[in-house]
């Protein structure tokens, strides 16, 4: 009796996820039963979009609630996880819209694209609010397993199948290694609950901590693979290049912020007291963050395909976000949430514009952007704004996001990391400006007209461009909204 009422009570806090799951199952059934001709399936699209909107609405209802642990401490609903989920839902909705319009996804697969990204969204939500090792593992696997077919969605394309294959192999290996690490953490500490792990770590002696260290490094492999930070980033450019563009845009946002949220939570819960484990974890994270930024930016310099350049750029951005996890205080998490929002808008806009040109020409090489400003001023201006913002130029949101993160780490005394972050920002300016130079100063190769964007995409690009500018100038409101009122860390 008590079990049943506990579950019913828990579900009242779990409404957004339930809506997303029901929507996913609904699309699955409608996909089978509804009309065969994809272009006539208007209702199916409306159903999918409504699923996203209701999820978003339910999440907004949960924003101001105090921290709540449900399902016997398996899941935690707090402001941090809810804000991460909100960003993820918005990103998924816009990616779905890109997917509907893109030629990169075959017409008869559009509804399957909806099912799969809805599933990945559920995985991200699970990962963002995971409060024990089992939910964390299930979240990561739900994310990964649904991402493999997404990468291989362009079925008859050789590159896409290969991208799916590489993703599946790397993903399986890293999940396995992470699981092995978790099994030893469980063996040494005797529990999988995050709260209890944090308590028991504090009572270990030095030898036991030495044994625990490699387990935590194994554990980090799985999370590091999900956010594609440096030793585990090799899959990212290949997979991003092979996947269809809307999928690439999706990959560079939703799974990454899910994994990032998990890293932030793990760091915040396990490693707040000063001991050997904390020094190692924070040291490893800071080295990885510095390497991630540097390798991402340096590799992006010589790329020919814009998609691949954006893949490396997203690796570099993740390095920046990783710095926020080192702060171990509310101000760091606030900066991370703000960065997530800015990163989402900038990346979606960049990929959206690339998708248009790629649909037109069949590839996304840099010279396809030649003289874009003479051919489609709206797209060109939006692209320039997002490139400047990604490089971290004021007055755009990218600058404020980077500024918040760097200010937070300087407060904690990581001066070297701050210098590395700023230098990397300078390096990144080179390849972002290369695209801007092509757009503005080169003459178009051909007089071939770009096909009509359609009112929806024009409005979307304009809104996102304006959002980057406006939130860059009037950022206080958004930054206050991202404030994490309650510490993620537990009060014992």
């Amino acid at each position: 009796m008590e079990l049943g009422s506990n579950y019913l009570y828990s579900i009242t806090y779990y409404v957004p996820e339930c809506i997303a799951i029901i929507a996913m199952a609904g699309i699955l059934f409608l996909e089978i039963a509804y009309k065969k001709d994809e272009s006539k399936r208007i209702l199916l699209k409306i159903f999918t979009v409504l699923g996203f909107i209701f999820t978003l609405a339910a999440l907004f209802c949960l924003v101001d609630l105090p921290t709540k642990k449900i399902f016997y401490n398996a899941i935690v609903i707090d402001r941090f996880s809810t804000l991460v989920k909100i960003v993820a839902v918005i990103a998924t909705l816009i990616c779905y819209y890109f997917g509907l319009l893109s030629r990169d996804i075959y017409t008869y697969l559009k509804s399957e694209f909806g099912i799969l990204i809805m599933g990945v969204l559920v995985g991200t939500m699970l990962l963002a609010s995971a409060n024990n090792m089992l939910t964390l593992y299930l979240g990561i696997e739900m994310l990964s397993i649904l991402c493999y077919p997404l990468a291989a969605l362009k079925r008859s394309d050789e590159k896409s199948a290969e991208a799916g294959l590489k993703y599946a192999l790397y993903g399986g290996l890293s999940a396995g290694v992470m699981l092995f690490g978790i099994s030893f953490i469980f063996g040494i500490l005797g529990t999988i609950q995050f709260d209890e792990i944090a308590v028991r770590i504090a009572s270990l002696d030095v030898t036991q901590k030495m044994i625990l260290l490699p387990s935590f490094l194994f554990f980090f492999v799985g999370l590091g693979y999900k956010i594609s930070c440096v030793p585990f980033h090799m899959w990212a450019p290949d997979v991003y290049e092979g996947s269809p563009i809307p999928v690439t845009a999706f990959f560079s946002i939703v799974p990454k912020i899910g994994g990032m949220a998990a890293i932030v939570r793990v760091t915040a819960i396990f490693f707040t007291t000063e001991n050997l484990l904390q020094y190692t974890w924070v040291g490893a994270l800071s080295i990885i963050a510095a390497l991630t930024m540097t390798v991402g930016n340096v590799s992006a310099l010589g790329q020919r395909s814009v998609k691949r350049m954006l893949a490396y750029s997203s690796i570099a951005q993740i390095g920046n976000i990783l710095l926020g996890a080192l702060v171990l205080e509310t101000v760091g998490y606030q900066a991370i949430i703000f960065y997530f929002f800015g990163y989402m808008v900038m990346t979606l806009l960049a990929f959206g514009i690339t998708a248009v040109l790629s649909d037109q020409y069949g590839n996304d090489y840099f010279d396809r952007f030649n003289g874009l400003v003479y051919r489609n001023p709206l797209m060109a201006i939006a692209l320039i704004v997002t490139m400047l913002s990604l490089a971290g130029m004021p007055p755009f949101i990218g600058f404020i996001a980077k500024f918040n993160i760097i200010a937070a780490i300087i407060q904690k005394g990581f001066y070297v990391l701050a210098v590395i972050a700023v230098l990397n920002s300078v390096v990144s300016l080179y390849y972002y400006m290369r695209l801007v130079r092509l757009v503005v100063f080169k003459m178009p190769d051909s007089t071939e007209k770009l096909f009509n964007l359609g009112i929806g995409r024009q409005v979307l690009f304009a809104i996102m461009g304006l959002l980057i500018l406006i939130t860059g100038i009037f950022w206080e409101e958004l930054y206050t909204f991202a404030h994490i009122t309650n510490q993620i860390k537990l009060a014992h």
Partner: protein, 100 residues
Amino acid sequence: MGIAPYIIVSSILFVCGIVVMIARKNIIGILLGIELILNAAALNFVSFTKFSNSNLDGQVFALFIILVAAAEAAVGLAIVIRFFQIRESIHIDSATQLQS
């Protein structure tokens, strides 16, 4: 018999899995390597539960691992079949389209 033999067996399984993933050129072989790694972790969980603590977390975890491994193998094999239909080979060295 204590916990040590279980840990040794699971560690051997884990190392075998890693070696298989690195050394085998056949994609099906690589997928088998992933299964070995997952099973090593599952064995660890059940043996830790048996010897060192009384709650059922580890055994529940092992059940979930089996479930997820099945799902992962299904998706992985589907992608391998697709790859085979396109390239007519399941040799990992024929996956060379995406390199910079």
